[in-house]
Subunit: 352 residues, 2 copies
DNA sequence: TTGAAAGCGGTACCAA
DNA sequence: TTGGTACCGCTTTCAA
């Protein structure tokens, strides 16, 4: 009998609240949205009480349908397995949440179609904006360019997009490495080697360029033997071997800049096992400034890729566009400061 | 003139497609949902073409409203800053995506209210299921227990919930540490110390218990001096000091089990700087099996907390509940295997 | 101060 | 084989 009132155990809706509280749905909607100024204290109370008692939770799906805002931001993270960009979520999420947005996460490989699919998915989900944290491959941007003007704002990290439809963030890889070379040369290093990443990545090439420019700047000769490339997916052995080859050279390099912090860690270990002291006999510099740098012994000097800053900036820029605080595209280039820790020091005395 | 056809630059809807293709919305909906068996090849073609030309993207918001499925899964990650659980996203996301689900991310501190809010938010967003990856604090589960039966399935990691309303995953901290002790004792270690984490965490206490049980099992005496606690938020100095105090003890411990890999890394560095060789003079074992373990020198032996496995299991269990492949609650306890690497070895000869 | 009703963009039932 | 239409749960004019 009494059951007949609640036929099926379906979710409680705004109608239920209205009915129980004896008001119209409009009124309930008003209190939901804080339009309570012109409202009897009594009805307000009654409605709030009803909401509480019924355990009513407004459906953001229904709301989104009419407001055309989902209050969610799509974050695309490429090649997430490196866990490098993943860290930025720590900073992106709270900022987004404080601004009233949820994060819809999308991980992609750096394959073109995969990325396209991810964007499509986010668009179908009607996200209010997109942050794309990709790796620096030469993804062609035809797809991006062809997207209709109705899509939500988007900020791109690490893309070499030519048109200025989207906000962009890039990182000054070249100058980051140049500064590292400045620092090493200032410490008396003359034989500086560089183990760099996959040639398919823009960042690798930019860093290699920085390496060459840096040497040139100080009148040092570019020696092909001092430079080796490798894939990040490969095992540690590859980098061990590369390091060993570097160590076998004569003159042996007194400083090595790794492709990233993990590579630098392998370099460090290999050098140490070969009987070299770091930094007395060999200075080592990484790239990224991953949290584990400070846990190595000695703590790793590194070029800070400002991963965290990238995340924060990206979400803030996006929020500006969503709220129309800013209406023009912006392209920011973040500098990469050198973080000097323990793995680098004066070059060993010339007479070695 | 021709503009009058498209009054406002609003999103193209299913109606537009139907109109342009000269069919009803039902028909369009049918092709959208793959109900194309009983359909003229010609109309199908025409509709698909129209969809392409118009750049039509179905609104998942509108769809969700009627189907009551959002095809998204909420993932709550507590204390995300440790980046430990963040890694699981690498594995959760692809599995979810393959199953047709998006990930709505929610990070929380381990404060109770914060968590409650996060759940509320996910529920408002009508997620189809929730994975909660919390730290092991003694969160009371009143809130969870009181949630209405209409909420979507939820799998809890690291919660000591008494009722069995939700699927749960836990990790066998105690036996993990016991196995480490077994291993060390087998290697001849008699003085084994343990630096453990915050006393407010269940995991810390379970591990301490494992430590005590392990000693007991092998007839070793529990020595209070061999045991120290600390916060994960504190600086490395705290753990350095604790380690130093351990090193100053007589007899000095020949093995130390850290509260986690980072603590173990600090222990290792401190020991090395005190002139001890690892593992010849001192064995060191971490907990978690973070990726950086293999980058330390020597590579860190550790108790694997199966972070990745947790993520995979959690999402799979959730999917089972969502698809009703399974209708009973499940409580799985993952074992923590010992990963033996280079930082542990035989105890130094008795005559030290 | 509160209420009625249209409509957001789809789905699905029932007809034709 | 295809179409008409009620409805999902909410917001938002416009009236009362």
């Amino acid at each position: 009998m009494s059951k007949s009132r609640r036929e099926n155990p379906t979710r409680v809706t705004i109608k239920d609240v209205a009915q129980v509280a004896g008001v119209s749905v409009t009124t309930v909607s008003n209190v939901l949205n804080g339009r309570t100024e012109a409202m009897t204290e009594e009805t307000l109370q009654r409605i709030q009480e009803t909401i509480r008692v019924l355990g009513y939770r407004p459906s953001s799906v229904a709301r989104s349908l009419v407001t055309k805002r989902t209050a969610t931001i799509g974050v695309m993270i490429a090649e997430i397995e490196t866990a490098v960009y993943l860290q930025t979520l720590n900073f992106i999420e709270p900022i987004a949440r404080n601004a009233g947005y949820n994060i819809l996460l999308s991980t992609t490989t750096h394959k073109r179609d995969d990325e396209k699919q991810a964007i499509e998915l986010l668009l179908e989900n009607q996200v209010d904006g997109i942050v794309s944290l990709s790796t620096s491959t030469y993804l062609d941007d035809d797809y991006l360019a062809q997207l209709p003007p109705t899509i939500p704002p988007m900020v791109l990290f690490n893309r070499s997009v030519t048109h200025d439809r989207f906000d962009q963030i890039n990182v000054d890889n070249t100058n980051g490495v140049i500064r590292a070379i400045d620092y090493l040369v200032g410490l008396g290093h003359q034989q500086i080697a560089h183990l760099y990443g996959p040639k398919s990545r823009i960042s690798s090439l930019e860093r290699l360029e920085g390496y060459q420019l840096g040497l040139e700047k100080h009148g040092l000769e570019y020696n092909e033997q001092y430079v080796r490339s490798g894939d990040f997916e490969t095992t540690q052995e590859h980098w061990e071997q590369s390091t060993q080859q570097l160590l076998d050279l004569s003159p042996r390099p007194t400083a090595i800049i790794g492709a990233n912090d993990r590579v630098a860690a392998v370099v460090m270990r290999t050098a140490q096992r070969a009987g070299l002291r770091v930094p007395e006999d060999m200075s080592i510099i990484g790239i990224d400034d991953q949290p584990f740098c400070t846990y190595l012994n000695p703590a790793l000097t590194t070029i800070d890729m400002s991963i965290i800053e990238i995340g924060k900036r990206a979400i803030r820029m996006l929020l500006e566009r969503i709220n129309r605080t800013r209406t023009t595209t912006e392209h920011v280039i973040l500098r990469c400061p050198l973080i000097i820790r323990e793995s680098s020091g004066p070059a060993p005395s010339a007479a070695h």
